[in-house]
Symmetry: C2
Subunit: 249 residues, 2 copies
Amino acid sequence: MKKVICFANQKGGVGKTTATVNLAASLGAMGKKVLVVDFDPQGSASLSFGMPDNGSLLLKALETCSPLPVLETPYEGVDLVPSGRNLVAARFQFSLAMAQDFLNICLEQTPGDWEWVLIDCPPSLDVISLAALWAARHVIVPLEGSYLSLNGLEQMAKTVSDLKQQGAKLEIEGILPSRIHPRRRIYWEIMLRLEQDFPNKVAPVIRENVALTEAPGKGKPIHLFARSSNGARDFQEVCSWLVNHFEKK
Amino acid sequence: MKKVICFANQKGGVGKTTATVNLAASLGAMGKKVLVVDFDPQGSASLSFGMPDNGSLLLKALETCSPLPVLETPYEGVDLVPSGRNLVAARFQFSLAMAQDFLNICLEQTPGDWEWVLIDCPPSLDVISLAALWAARHVIVPLEGSYLSLNGLEQMAKTVSDLKQQGAKLEIEGILPSRIHPRRRIYWEIMLRLEQDFPNKVAPVIRENVALTEAPGKGKPIHLFARSSNGARDFQEVCSWLVNHFEKK
Ligand SMILES: Nc1ncnc2c1ncn2[C@@H]1O[C@H](COP(=O)(O)OP(=O)(O)OP(=O)(O)O)[C@@H](O)[C@H]1O
Ligand SMILES: Nc1ncnc2c1ncn2[C@@H]1O[C@H](COP(=O)(O)OP(=O)(O)OP(=O)(O)O)[C@@H](O)[C@H]1O
Ligand SMILES: [Mg+2]
Ligand SMILES: [Mg+2]
């Protein structure tokens, strides 16, 4: 049963891409088959795998309702639908009504036996992120340990509930606290709030770790770039949490 | 001579809002008259001033080419055009061609004698951020000390150059390194790159400082929330740099 998961939060810089890339790589290293869909015109996930792209093949597939362009990455078990600046045109070409289908249709036609499809979303409530949400069944919301970031989570919860009212089969499966400074008081305040509002849905946290900032510059996931760093260990924890969470379903 | 400045970077979470809010407040405290235009449907700048809004008045003004809704903030010299979730509709209602005018027209009709207009942009290359760029004469690009953030700057430079080719009167006036960890090697590498690619345009840096993360939760700018913090001192430096930079013009 293919699990299609969106990493979404309209707040910027909360770790959506870092989570998509590193969880995909960890799942792949465990022997799972994973497809990463870089659905952000910034192409951060593609850059993070060392595979920059201009997004024109992806745009073309969406425009013509064709299978998505899939590349093998150098990382075991992980394939990538790359993206880049040309995907911006999707914002001007597709209407709100088309968001329900334009990614869904292409994903369904894309041949491949991946057990996990992880979609990296842009920081924006627009046709691109809405199309990603319509194509997914599950949402993971990364967020930072900050007040402005909590507002992003609140907005996300509202967006998911609006989509469900329109018929989307979508659930917030997890909240992923990221870029965490564990000794800050604001972190403890936020964790209490999260446990209250989303009981049993809060993933293990990803601490702020310079290795996670550097890894994209080498085009590598954290477990290969800095195997014994806090970043690698934290993502290992989150990966186990993710697998248990979904295997219980 | 009114200075209209956009804080723009399609990369998320690089400190656009934190810079807009705190520089506006510092300029106001120096006796300048400042208008902050919160042009992000997330409404982060409005939240950061303690003035959350649903964005419907702003959307209405844009739809009807009317003066923008302006509120006084509790902070000396600073007025605010607030924003919120309802502004999302602008992404679906305005075409790419309309981006040249739909904010410009409203801003020109908005009565007020502000010397500085600071526009906070969303993390996205779309009709909203393009309208902000068309309404401004100057761009300041905040960025983090990370590889993915440098890609955002590169994209921004390309966007500004495309707009100038279409007739926009727009210049990148400054690069604002934010959320800086001064002891990280990646910071030094990035600073060297910036000085090379944008000589004399790199503002003093804003260091990572928990007070800057907490201040929005109290709806206050940093110089009132934590007057002797590194965040307050760094913004004081950047404010002086900003005033000197523009008064030389
Ligand atoms: N735990 C961490 N420790 C240190 N740096 C991190 C961590 N997580 C992410 N980063 C860095 O912070 C920046 C933002 O992270 P990332 O790009 O993953 O967020 P995002 O939510 O995908 O951003 P956007 O909204 O622009 O898509 C990046 O430069 C990334 O390398
Ligand atoms: N120098 C700093 N030190 C500590 N925290 C900071 C600093 N600058 C910004 N922050 C925090 O980091 C987060 C991102 O900053 P901010 O919202 O200003 O970025 P942004 O570029 O406007 O984000 P977006 O792309 O979502 O609009 C916020 O929670 C903010 O409070
Ligand atoms: Mg991203
Ligand atoms: Mg912002």
